[in-house]
Amino acid sequence: MSQIKTKVPSLTLNIAVYAALLFLLAVTVWASRTDLGYWNFVAAAGIASLKASLIVLFFMRVYYAKPLIWLASGAGFVWLAILFNLVVSDYLTRSRVQSAPVHETAVYEVPDR
């Protein structure tokens, strides 16, 4: 009878990850109170991704998992990245391309009958 072979992350590691998550939570709240202009959004999204990576790698154990699990867990994020890439490269650049119609200026008059 084969036993299930899994690496069990230590208690210290779990608590260290938790402490890092709380620290990043404090950092993101602090960063939001500082006016960084456009970089506020970048900071918020970046710190969120850092927290997400910690959760996926250590709490969800992908770091210790087999290559198959790396592939399966990565697949969802990769497809999401494709979706974001294609849509964002359109919508988020419209206002930066002069010839392209900008949403807020595209007002069509509907004549009364």
Partner: protein
């Protein structure tokens, strides 16, 4: 090649480990279960991802209204709630660890702690929803905020997305709480098996995923453009 199932289902002398007949060994069964859960989570990632994409596009369209919207949020309650959810992820991770080390009492205790923290999160969320209702910030339900201004559409869009995304997140929390409650009931009634840890691990994966969604929801709705100028 047909063999009766009874021959293939391996039961250890103490009745602890069972491997379903389609698997070579417990390790393979473990991997298959984990793979299945991750495939399910991949569909969940794309499900929530679409809403985050909608958020991004509307944010680009209505930057000022979205900044006004996020300034209506209770950052204090949001921060506390994020802390509560992160703590519940720690207790969940430790519960999985306890199940792997066959520490049944610890596992049950940690699962109950996760369950309680999840309920605290939903309680605080409910309180926030009530505050928003009292402030007339719920679209199509007593909305009076920014009644005629040019930011009305954008503000309503912000709160539509807020209630839709946090509401779906809360529904996922409820599903997670039901699974946790079932685990606790089963664990109280029967001893742990070798295969128990994979069930706890999979529920854990789901719980951490729900945490993951909140990790993005919190800054996007509460923090971004919560202060200073609007530049997008």
């Amino acid at each position: 090649m047909f063999k009766p199932a009874s021959q293939l289902v391996e039961v250890r002398a103490d009745g602890a480990a069972r491997v379903a007949h389609q698997f070579v060994d417990a390790d393979q069964q473990h991997s298959a279960a984990e793979l299945g859960m991750w495939l399910f989570l991949a569909t969940e990632i794309m499900f929530f991802g679409a809403f985050f994409l909608a958020y991004l596009v509307y944010r680009e369209w209505y930057p000022v209204a979205f900044a006004m919207g996020s300034r209506q949020m209770d950052v204090m309650l949001g921060t506390v709630n994020t802390g509560v959810l992160l703590t519940s992820s720690l207790t969940m991770a430790l519960a999985v660890r306890a199940s792997e080390m066959s520490q049944r009492r610890w596992m049950i205790g940690l699962l109950v702690a996760t369950l309680l923290l999840g309920m605290v999160f939903l309680g605080i969320k409910g309180l926030e929803y009530y505050h928003k209702y009292a402030e007339h910030l719920v679209p199509f339900a007593g909305w009076t905020f920014a009644p005629a201004g040019e930011q009305r559409t954008g503000m309503m869009e912000f709160f539509n997305l807020y209630f839709l995304m946090t509401g779906l997140h809360a529904l996922h929390m409820v599903a997670g709480l039901v699974m946790l409650a079932l685990l606790v009931i089963v664990a109280c009634r029967s001893p742990l098996r070798d295969s128990s840890s994979i069930v706890v691990h999979n529920v854990g994966l789901y719980w951490h995923f729900v945490d993951l969604v909140w990790v993005y929801l919190f800054p996007f709705f509460y923090l971004v453009s919560a202060s200073g100028s609007v530049a997008m």
